[in-house]
């Protein structure tokens, strides 16, 4: 069975400083991995996805993530945090065996301090 573990339930950074949200995955085959973001009172939105092409994936709003098979990690980063980045972030692994059944991590709440 596939799973993801988000190592921090809450991350707090100052505006303009780097963001690192950590995710480790477990999968019995080559996974597809995603990061979704959930702003308050908004629907979940896809930030970026990895599907076995380039290991460094760029997403929207300046976010990127690197797939590291040797470390079974897919950490999300951004060089400089903005106040609008405050949200809940979910690391997700996909089962592509006939259905797009996404398996979500428990989420990391990102707070940006002015």
């Amino acid at each position: 069975a596939q799973s993801v573990t988000q190592l921090d339930s809450h991350v707090s950074v100052s505006e303009g400083t780097p963001v690192l949200l950590r995710c480790n995955y477990s999968s019995s085959y080559s996974p597809s991995l995603f990061w979704y973001v959930q702003h308050p009172n908004k629907g979940l939105q896809l930030l970026l996805k990895y599907t076995s092409a380039a290991t460094l994936v760029k997403g929207i709003n300046g976010f990127e993530a690197e797939f590291k098979k040797s470390e079974t990690s897919f950490h999300l980063t951004k060089p400089s945090a903005h106040m609008s980045d405050a949200a809940e972030y979910f690391c997700v692994v996909s089962d592509f065996k006939g259905a797009q059944k996404l398996v979500f991590g428990q989420g990391t709440r990102l707070t940006i301090n002015p």
């Binding site: 629907g43 979940l44 979910f90 592509f96 006939g98 797009q100 059944k101 428990q106 989420g107």
Partner: protein, 114 residues
Amino acid sequence: GAGVSQTPSNKVTEKGKYVELRCDPISGHTALYWYRQSLGQGPEFLIYFQGTGAADDSGLPNDRFFAVRPEGSVSTLKIQRTERGDSAVYLCASSSGLNTGELFFGEGSRLTVL
């Protein structure tokens, strides 16, 4: 509409009552999903439709939960004999069905069972 629409946005009911939650997907999207998000958790898969048929209902917790999509567009999630443990945000998502892994989520229906 432009996005996935879910109604009601908020539903309060009493234990033992019957509840229906509605999802209107993005026009033209053949795949439709239901997820459940409990407080402080990531969304959990319930059921997936491809067209009118349920392709995967392995996430439905028990036989009190049922979902339909009779014309391949709008879907209804039905919960019988509600219990306090059913309280959660029920999320609907749709996709083009092309296995891209990108799901478009609605804002959810928050169900509270008293």
